[in-house]
Symmetry: C2
Amino acid sequence: MSRYPNFGFEVRHRAPDSRARLGRLTTPHGTIETPNFIFCGTKAAIKGATTEQMRAAGTDIILANTFHLMIQPGAERVAKLGGLHRMMNWSGPMLTDSGGFQIFSMGHGGVADEIKGRNRAERPKSLVKISEEGAEFRSYLNGEKLFLSPEESIRLQRLLGADLIVQLDECTPYHVGADYIADSMAMSMRWGDRCLEEFDRGADGSQALYGVVQGGTDPTLRRESAEYTADRDFFATAVGGTLGGNKAQMYEVVGMCSPYLHPDRPVHLLGIGNFQDVFEGVALGMDTFDCVHPTRVARHGWALKKGAPGERVNLRNARFGEDSGPIDETCGCEACQHYSAGYLHHLVRVGELLGVMLVTLHNVFTMNRLMREVRAAIAADRLADARTEWIVD
Amino acid sequence: MSRYPNFGFEVRHRAPDSRARLGRLTTPHGTIETPNFIFCGTKAAIKGATTEQMRAAGTDIILANTFHLMIQPGAERVAKLGGLHRMMNWSGPMLTDSGGFQIFSMGHGGVADEIKGRNRAERPKSLVKISEEGAEFRSYLNGEKLFLSPEESIRLQRLLGADLIVQLDECTPYHVGADYIADSMAMSMRWGDRCLEEFDRGADGSQALYGVVQGGTDPTLRRESAEYTADRDFFATAVGGTLGGNKAQMYEVVGMCSPYLHPDRPVHLLGIGNFQDVFEGVALGMDTFDCVHPTRVARHGWALKKGAPGERVNLRNARFGEDSGPIDETCGCEACQHYSAGYLHHLVRVGELLGVMLVTLHNVFTMNRLMREVRAAIAADRLADARTEWIVD
């Protein structure tokens, strides 16, 4: 019998000229069309939007971070409050990560910067002790010593109750040696097996497990890691770890994995997701994406915009001061339907919460619109055309 | 012909045992039932809620502050963006104040504290020069020298475009001598006349003017000021200025005004509005209230609650940590319908914007519910019963 009786993934159409594909991912909380974008509700909250607003802005799926929630309010407490779905008032599909990414980034300086290869400064003394058993680290809240093993990660994610959960892996940084990456990848594989065993011990059909591809920027290791995930009975695959030092290398690394991933399983690209990343990732066979980018830049007054240079506009810019039109005339979001760019400029300038809220809704809507248009483009075999509409190179 | 052809106020029922009354206040943007509460959108934004959410939470009327808007983004710019209603996407009635309150409070230390008599420390050197002509002050944004006269206040409020606007008055602090208060009150009367003249110069039927009662805590001055407002052709009356050093004195001061206010005009009590204030004010003949209290305390994790000691609960309190029930079982707001107190506790503790947003919606809904229940109680001649339901003395 399948480990994942209540889950499914169906590929409905494939692009003729790339690995892009249309899919349908089914979970106990509903089915989503892919490619799709998973919005980050790190601490069990989307920053600046209610789940009702997320839904109204076209959102199909959200995630929360195990690392943050194990510290506050604790996975047991989330379970007592009914699990993530009930607690957050979200009835659709949901994912949690393993907690590893944030822990290992504590040991390697900045989180995203390091993974994306941008931080070349010397790293501070590690706050994390990694062993075969798992990772020991201290709570950022109160210094308490905590331990995350593959089994503990699965146990915590079971308490949190998301549909889609992720194996614990060591997320290796960009600036470590080849030996470290190879050894780490091998350990992540063993951790993957331990996660599958722990998963089976508590499985009730409500969750499905992702295996994670590591291997740094080395094609041989990436292939080996991808083949490992395909060989084991994971429901789906996530591509993680160091994705290179720049965009080109990132896409190259994803491309190293693609041919060796299990062809019938959904593939998630971890922590990546501006417009360009989505187009490149989709063409490389990625089905879902997640990134804090859309909500984070909203808090700084940046509105994502189809066809804009750099993919966005800065609402603080004086040119918007007396602009009585919307941010984007072609956008159907609440902010563009009801509010002028001039008003949003004012709100952002004076630091009103409402500015964050409205720009967040716009950015969420825009990402969902991007994914809708990407899906329509794949269906019509015109993904390249959609790319030129969205991205000014 | 009436100065206010598109406005009206109709008293529909009077309490048998107090000055409480049910009314209907008509503006070009609709009619509201009174008593009612006016929510503060200081800088042309309700802190933490969209106007759609305000409407869904039962809100009938909002205000914005001329002082803040003349500094950012400027009244001319608001006019270019279509005026406050269009800019804020608010189709209902709206009020702006004169700008005086904030300016004069710059000259007297803290704003609300001083007006409410709570600040007995020595005051810093005044930042405001007050003369018969008006008030000269410096922008908190860039130090620019600004001048607000009665004529300028009306001109700015005309540009902002609210339905209900307020004459410029000097808002005297609690700790000044009797002579100062008397002289100031007389000047505020002359400013009231100048506001009426300026109002007429630009009147197009879209706005209506409030006269303001001053006079500190002196019964003779309060009577004189109230009689002045009744004598002039203001559409409505606002009770402002120093309302005493404690709650009892505040109600006493309001009571000094009540008998001498024009009986057929709506009366607004400026800047006051917790549950108790509303019950006391209504009994003294006040028809509308405004206060930043409901949205401000939400930002600090306080949820207003019918029948709670102190009128509110502190969601940071550990007792809410695993509370899977709503803040208030009897409340129909979005937060209470869909989210547990335990989740809100988590959001407030970790500082999520969503916590502010949801508690704000709850507090707004609760104030609107208070006003609905106050109106129903007046209609049924049982205001005292409603008071005991809402307030634990």
